[in-house]
Symmetry: none
Subunit: 213 residues, 4 copies
Amino acid sequence: MEEAIMDYNQKQLQILDTAERLFAMHGFHGASVRDIAQEADVNIAMISYYFGSKERLIEAIFLKRVMDVKNGLDELVKNKDLAPLEKINKLIELFVAKISDRPYFCRIMVRAQATQEGVPTELIHEVKKQMYDLVKKLITEGQKKGAFLGDIDTMMMVNTLVGTSNHVIISQNFLKKVWNQEAISEDKFRQQLKERVSNHLKKLFKVVLTDER
Amino acid sequence: MEEAIMDYNQKQLQILDTAERLFAMHGFHGASVRDIAQEADVNIAMISYYFGSKERLIEAIFLKRVMDVKNGLDELVKNKDLAPLEKINKLIELFVAKISDRPYFCRIMVRAQATQEGVPTELIHEVKKQMYDLVKKLITEGQKKGAFLGDIDTMMMVNTLVGTSNHVIISQNFLKKVWNQEAISEDKFRQQLKERVSNHLKKLFKVVLTDER
Amino acid sequence: MEEAIMDYNQKQLQILDTAERLFAMHGFHGASVRDIAQEADVNIAMISYYFGSKERLIEAIFLKRVMDVKNGLDELVKNKDLAPLEKINKLIELFVAKISDRPYFCRIMVRAQATQEGVPTELIHEVKKQMYDLVKKLITEGQKKGAFLGDIDTMMMVNTLVGTSNHVIISQNFLKKVWNQEAISEDKFRQQLKERVSNHLKKLFKVVLTDER
Amino acid sequence: MEEAIMDYNQKQLQILDTAERLFAMHGFHGASVRDIAQEADVNIAMISYYFGSKERLIEAIFLKRVMDVKNGLDELVKNKDLAPLEKINKLIELFVAKISDRPYFCRIMVRAQATQEGVPTELIHEVKKQMYDLVKKLITEGQKKGAFLGDIDTMMMVNTLVGTSNHVIISQNFLKKVWNQEAISEDKFRQQLKERVSNHLKKLFKVVLTDER
DNA sequence: GATGAATGAGCTTTCATTCAT
DNA sequence: AATGAATGAAAGCTCATTCAT
């Protein structure tokens, strides 16, 4: 995977961005290469020319984004001098920020997990495993240091972290409506949401992992 | 909605079940009416004949399942003589059971929220709103009775409930692999999972809502 | 193969005939299903609908025609009471008539032997083997009866029979031009040609197989 | 035609050879310029650049090979001091050798005669006419000298010569299989075949043209 | 002179739907 | 009421060729 140093040119990036958005909005089969090409303002033959096929296009999107996440997580691990809970908080912030800033890809990921739509399943499993291992490590460390309680269902905590974050992102439109915030700008709302989910999850992890509130 | 007293005949039910499964597995556009008709062992023209169109077919699936959930929630509300936390627990159990038993529809719902795939958005919003209102009511009641703490982000708690549950269901295959439980039967694993998510969420709500652990 | 009782309807026959002609004129890849559909005056989707694919269409053509030839040969074998040379003459007449009457299929066959264009090679080999075996049998019979000479290269005689006949058919246009017969009708010319090739080959076989002229 | 003094450079020759092979194997439309360029190890744009178009490429192949044949025939005519039958034998040898050594081009020729695949028909007709005129001349000479019989269908004899030779070449694979010679090398088999066809045709012409056996 | 990038046109096949019975 | 036959539209992809350098 590491050999795939992705240096895409301008047109390729246009295609990738447009495809990400359309795949997110309409699903893999719901977004046609014709539509993608048209919205990306490139010739339809370019997609096959650059990426080989529609399937390889979505794989390229996955590769591009997943590497981002993996690299982010790796970085977190290296940071040694934080307290256990601070590390957890950092992780939450980082994860929420990552998927908040890539809402389209978040939707694709959710779809991909829910189904099998010509999507590289192994890649997804790999990054999920890494996430789980990381959280497990952080929690075990905290427990060894006596900072965290003993009886924790780590995997379920990961599911809550990922599931809640994802769900908030994909329910954005609904939440905006429910809270009567349809007037404010997309970006501002997303920023508010990011903070709110972050805080919620931090609180959740704190009360579960420690004795404090 | 109320006029839609759904009395489907055998063939219609076959179509609905098969379509639910295939839509869940391959997405709305990924599942062709040909495939659905073939797997449901009915003539291909039957789908248009009975449901009008592919879109109306998936709407029928939604209507059928969503009514189920709504009715379940209504029932819960009526039950007056439970303690606040017991009501929350009951809700969690009920919700988790509902989507655990309908994993295909759960996947469709998740997809539908993540995107717009010719799916009745309003219906989804309606049932989500109802869910939110119900939780809000339960929490407020608990707070009035002094059983729950004051500073609760209700909407985020709903997101955690729904998001975690959904995520566990759609990640079933991954979890099975990670836990090396690939040998045991599908049903048994689902049962275990149901219990585990239930307990996890109950614990989560308890430590967040009350002072106890 | 025998289960394929080919009972084609009118439209299917139109498609088969047109496809045979266009495949003969432009080759497998040179004749598009669009063109075939248009010239056969059927909807383009009908070809996939009836035959599955372009490849299966040409296979159907082969199956249809090759069965004809095979059945013709089988019939000849049964005819017991002819003299050896008369049998050979009968075979020549029959073979020449067969491919003269199906000039399009003759061209397809020639192309198919010359190359590999998504054509059922085994079917061709099978019918060629049958042809060879039949000629071998006729010549051996004649030799046993003392009617034919001993030193005959049977396979090469078959090659001459088939090669000459094919070549005359596919060179029709050239021959017509060389002989300045461009004025006479297609059918009449073909009839003349059939007779001429037939006589030529009969004479050839006679002088090679026997002592007479 | 005579102005086309063909002095091709290395890359052009690579293209011509590869194209000849691929056209022979898959037909004109079945062989893409992409495939040709790739197998010839040249840039895809080179083909249009050097030859103008795909059609002009196959024309170049024809021109190159047909000139060969024509020149060979011309040479034969000049040779005065051979007996009539010896001249015929020489012609047979020369012709069979020519197409045996160029099996790919032989296949292209056969295809070209069978159909119209963007192939220079006039060129083919021209060389065929020359061949016919030559044989006619040789036979007439022989008849004048009293060496040959009078009643000869010259054109059909040409058809037998060309048709049989072609057919043997394009049926090579089948013959190899029928004779259980699949073990021996390609070259050796081709050599054997060349001799066998040659002898067969010589014998054929001898018994038809003369009284001897 | 030579080539990687790019393109419009065309390919085969499948789609959801409708028609005639 | 129910269905096999049929269809126009659109799908993903490859084609031979041209363009800009």
